[in-house]
């Protein structure tokens, strides 16, 4: 299935129904609120709101969830600019110059450029997604179990390298995630594994309770009770328009941020966070006046915001074309799609064209909706920031419980969410990243299945993984990543990942 006018028409025909238009608008609105509120990231937001899509058909559900996803990416910039608090991790870099602009009375233009940059990047990235996903899916149709197993292993290793921090810790989180993913009935032999008589664990540990526990509950555990001092700079609607100079200065950073963000978004790892750091560094290096960065340079807002939104849509390429999530958010999106009977992968675009092209069309529409929504409603979103966290966190806890319970109507899932919450809280204290763990849980059944199929195919010879060229390439990439990750441990030097982690903590 290639890109053609008919496919786009099919997509727009799917989206342009009153109900789907409403879901797209609703998704963008909720997503923006999720992005604006500190402590409710896109991951927890999607997980909590997953049950609201149960009554919808698959196309409407994915349109709503995708709206929440990129809406949250959009909304994160508001808190960064007005409060110097990133609504979600990818808005860390926007804090620096966005807040500096706000302090100088230029909050409006900073918000406007962030919205325009996000719109341009989002729309151009959908074009990239539209042209890249179908041929990639076609290519992946030739993958056998060894290629698929190596691809997933490579994806996990790249994720552990790109996430930042210690690669050994990240790899152990992947191993722990894979261990958790093993719990339940073995799909090849029917044996119950590590379920200790709990029938409810037969289907395994679901990704939604794991993700909500690790990201939602642990966030509440770590932040509840902290002092709630917030200074919010409130922009006026008439001050939103950027000057001609600011618009001109933003064109380059937005273009570069879009290309950079989209390409980095395809790679597993904290792509949307990394892309903003790379974009910021690149803009500062290319600027004739690098000393303005940190003091309110519009390029420092335009580039990272464009990169962030482009990355979030770039991440959908491997998810939709290969069925491989590149981060925890896309992992939850994958779980959400599966709940609705959609299995992303090489056959998805071919077998469910209405859903795929409907999603593409909804993204064009959603980006426009976000641009029109974010600017006029900014003062309403700012008022959301005035809700004290001591009121907010019990409500988030309540939505977490409903979100997790509703997936399978299971109290065991609520219990798993609690356990994962404690685990996530302790892992944060011990400086472990939890994103690789979620990916491990999601990918374990596919990795193990393809691994065992490969060994059966080769009569037990592990050499098949290196004798098949595509599989060998994936494994070489994985090996290079492990070696690069181990280099700072051996040489006792700081690499870019450690500097990135430090910058993230310092923001």
């Amino acid at each position: 299935m290639d890109v053609s006018f008919q496919n786009l028409v099919l997509g727009f025909a799917t989206v342009f129904t009153p109900a789907n238009l409403l879901y797209s608008l609703l998704g963008c609105l909720i997503g923006t609120m999720v992005g604006v509120l500190p402590g409710v990231g896109p991951l927890a937001g999607i997980s909590m709101l997953l049950p609201t899509t149960f009554g919808l058909n698959a196309t409407s559900a994915i349109i709503l969830l995708a709206g929440i996803y990129y809406g949250a990416m959009y909304g994160g910039s508001t808190t960064s600019i007005l409060m110097r608090i990133p609504g979600e991790a990818a808005s860390v870099m926007t804090c620096i110059d966005g807040y500096a602009m706000a302090r100088k009375g230029r909050a409006g233009p900073a918000l406007a450029i962030a919205a325009i940059g996000s719109y341009a990047a989002g729309t151009l990235s959908v074009v990239g997604l539209m042209f890249l996903a179908p041929p990639l899916a076609k290519f992946a149709l030739g993958f056998g179990p060894p290629e698929y197993c190596s691809l997933l292993v490579c994806g996990l290793v790249v994720l552990s390298y790109m996430t930042g921090g210690s690669i050994v810790k990240n790899l152990s989180m992947i191993a722990l995630g894979l261990m958790i993913g093993i719990i339940g009935i073995d799909q090849m032999s029917g044996y119950f594994r590590f379920s200790y008589g709990l029938v409810a664990l037969g289907d395994g540990v679901g990704v939604v309770p794991v993700a909500v526990g690790l990201f939602g509950i642990s966030e509440i555990l770590a932040t509840a009770g902290a002092p709630d001092r917030r200074e919010v700079i409130k922009p006026r609607f008439r001050d939103l328009l950027p000057s001609k100079r600011e618009l001109k200065d933003s064109v380059g950073p937005i273009s570069r941020g879009t290309i950079l963000g989209f390409l980095i978004g395809i790679i597993p790892g904290s792509a949307h966070i990394i892309s903003t750091f790379v974009s910021y560094a690149m803009e500062r290096r290319m600027s004739k006046h690098p000393e303005r960065f940190g003091e309110g340079a519009i390029e420092g807002v335009a580039g990272p915001e464009a990169a962030n939104n482009a990355a979030s849509e770039g991440a959908l390429v491997p998810l939709l074309a290969l069925g491989v999530p590149t981060g925890p958010i896309t992992a939850v999106l994958l779980a959400a799609l599966m709940v609705h009977g959609i299995s992303p992968g090489p056959l998805f675009i071919k077998e469910q064209p209405a859903v795929f092209w409907g999603l593409i069309a909804s993204m064009y529409l959603g980006n426009l909706v976000l641009l029109l929504l974010n600017l006029p409603l900014v003062s309403i979103f700012v008022n959301l920031l005035r809700v004290p966290y001591r009121i907010l966190y019990p409500a988030i806890l309540m939505f977490c419980v409903v979100g997790v319970y509703a997936v399978n109507s299971s109290m065991v899932d609520v219990g798993i969410m609690g356990v994962m919450g404690i685990l996530g809280y302790l892992l944060r204290k011990m400086d472990f990243e939890t994103a690789p763990l979620v990916l491990g849980v999601v990918l374990e059944p596919i990795i193990e299945y393809s691994f065992r199929q490969t060994l059966a195919m080769s009569d037990g010879a592990y050499s098949i993984f290196v004798l098949r060229p595509i599989s060998a390439v994936f494994l070489v990439v994985a090996l290079v990543m492990v070696l690069l990750g181990l280099k700072p441990l051996i040489k006792k030097t700081k690499d870019w990942r450690e500097r990135l982690t430090e910058a993230e903590r310092g923001a």
Binding site: K169, M179, I217, L221, G225, R390, V414, G418
Partner: protein, 146 residues
């Protein structure tokens, strides 16, 4: 004791536990791996990574450097999670949320009683109406059908 050494030791222990618990699962052969094959490989990987953390963890921050200032709140929220897990199907969603939110707002956050009541009634009944009645997501009603 450093953070990395403790976490490495815990990973090694977990790996050993998985090796022990895996013994009831057939290992199979490399031609036809059984249900115990992947757990064993992963347990070995966990043990190796844990050992690396122990060996390389000398320079890591000490355990006492971890701040626990939010621990009382965290303990209360965890207690709420446990209470919800145990009680929600028995006494129903609305009553459970009423108690949990009431506890958090009134006891942990020391809010005024009228505000607590407004928030608790609004959140517990409002969310039930939104999910159960409007979106048709069945939530537990408990033994009293509430």
């Amino acid at each position: 004791m450093t953070i990395d050494r403790l976490s490495g030791a815990l990973l090694v222990l977990l790996g050993l536990l998985v090796v022990w618990e895996r013994r009831v699962l057939p290992l199979g052969t490399s031609q036809h791996p059984g249900p115990g094959y992947a757990p064993l490989l992963l347990a070995i990987l966990l043990i190796i990574l844990g050992a690396i953390l122990i060996i390389g963890g000398k320079g890591a921050p000490p355990l006492r450097s971890i701040a626990w200032s939010e621990a009382p709140h965290a303990a209360a929220i965890l207690a709420c999670c446990i209470f919800t897990t145990v009680m929600m199907e028995r006494i129903g969603y609305r009553l459970t949320m009423f108690i949990v939110l009431g506890f958090l707002f009134a006891v942990m956050e020391r809010m005024k009683i009228w505000l607590v009541l407004t928030l608790v009634i609004g959140f517990s009944l409002g969310s039930f109406w939104l999910f159960d009645s409007l979106l048709r997501v069945p939530l537990p009603r408990g033994e009293w059908n509430f």
